[in-house]
């Protein structure tokens, strides 16, 4: 995953008027990103796939960035990280055409369009590196997150009942949404077919 974001840095204005910068995460952002994850309230961390406060999580995250198994965007105001969006990918396995998207936004910035903007930027990037399919996993109760991804073209693919046990030990259904973007490349393939106009 060697491609870079076409627009490496962009500004986004929250609904409340605050301006944040969205840019690719670098390895130097590690401490600020760790602080961002630690600052997420327990209510928000309840439904995250991993315990992002553990040092092992950050070490694994950085390792994936170094190995090009993940690419991440951060939304920052000054030195403070307000949001993180990551595209995970297995570049060599049988799901190498699939990207897995995860987005987290600080409580103070939620419902202001930042999560949608981050997710949209990742979807554009995923298409640009040739991925066919994007997947996101949300807990069934995360209605706002689900709506955000449905607005970006994601559709329900599966519900795994009782799949998740949250940090309080409660079990929840896991909803898997997917977005098959391969049709975009079908149009490119048609364009390259070199059909005679009169033969179509």
């Amino acid at each position: 995953m060697s491609a870079t974001f076409e627009r490496e840095v962009e500004e986004f204005t929250l609904a409340g008027g605050e301006r944040v910068v969205i840019r690719p995460m670098t390895l130097e952002d590690g401490p600020a990103v760790a602080e961002f994850f630690r600052s997420l309230p327990e209510e928000d961390r309840r439904y995250l796939r991993e315990d992002v406060t553990r040092p092992e999580f950050l070490e694994g995250f950085i390792r994936k960035l170094k190995n090009f198994e993940a690419v991440s965007l951060v939304a920052v105001s000054g030195d403070v990280v307000l949001g993180s969006a990551t595209l995970y990918r297995n570049p060599h396995g049988w799901t190498r055409h699939v990207g897995d998207i995860r987005v987290e936004v600080a409580r103070s910035c939620q419902r202001q369009g930042l999560g949608t903007h981050l997710a949209h930027a990742l979807v554009r990037y995923a298409i640009s590196i040739g991925l066919d399919k994007l997947v996101v996993e949300v807990v069934e109760a995360q209605h706002a997150a689900r709506k955000t991804f449905e607005n970006l073209g994601f559709r329900l693919e599966a519900v795994l009942k009782g799949q998740i046990r949250d940090i309080d030990g409660q079990r929840h259904n896991l909803v898997i949404l997917s977005n098959d973007v391969s049709h975009i490349w079908d149009r490119m393939e048609s364009l390259l077919a070199d059909f005679s106009p009169s033969a179509e």
Binding site: G130, M188, L192, A193, D194
Partner: protein, 185 residues
Amino acid sequence: MDKTEIRVGGLGGQGVILCGMIIGRAASIHDGKHATLIQAFGPEARGSACSAQVTLADAAIGYPYVKQPDVLILMSPDAYTQFAPTLKPTGTLLYESELIAVDDKLPRGARAIGIPATRFAEELGRRLVLNIVMTGFFAGVTELVSLEAVEKAVRESVPRGTEDLNMRALRRGYEYGRQQVAVPA
């Protein structure tokens, strides 16, 4: 540039016609020159021989057919066999170097510059953009169309949503082409 005749050759499905169309569009619409395009297909489109004849000129073009090109852009061995002997002795062959082996079919004196365009396209994420890599390579080696013009032409020609990868493919080919013709200090 008075008049330059170009032939693009390959197989149906490699985007031969689109390559020719983008070159013509870049020259005529964005660089303010004149261009014509003639396209030829085999009996079946996908996998059969396919070629495009492009003429670029500073003035109006009276005859659009290309018999003996100044520049050949070739993407398949069959196209090389068929078209290499037609290149002008002072001409330039731009070829897919992992698919085509240059031999004595090429006129003596002609220049041949290869690019592993299929591999580059696969590394970028999609083999489909092979023709865009070749288009960038053409622009980088010959400078017959400006990078700015060909970038605009690519953006206008490819499906929405595929622009970013196509632009990276174009620049990959362009930069490789510039490296191949750079004069060592």
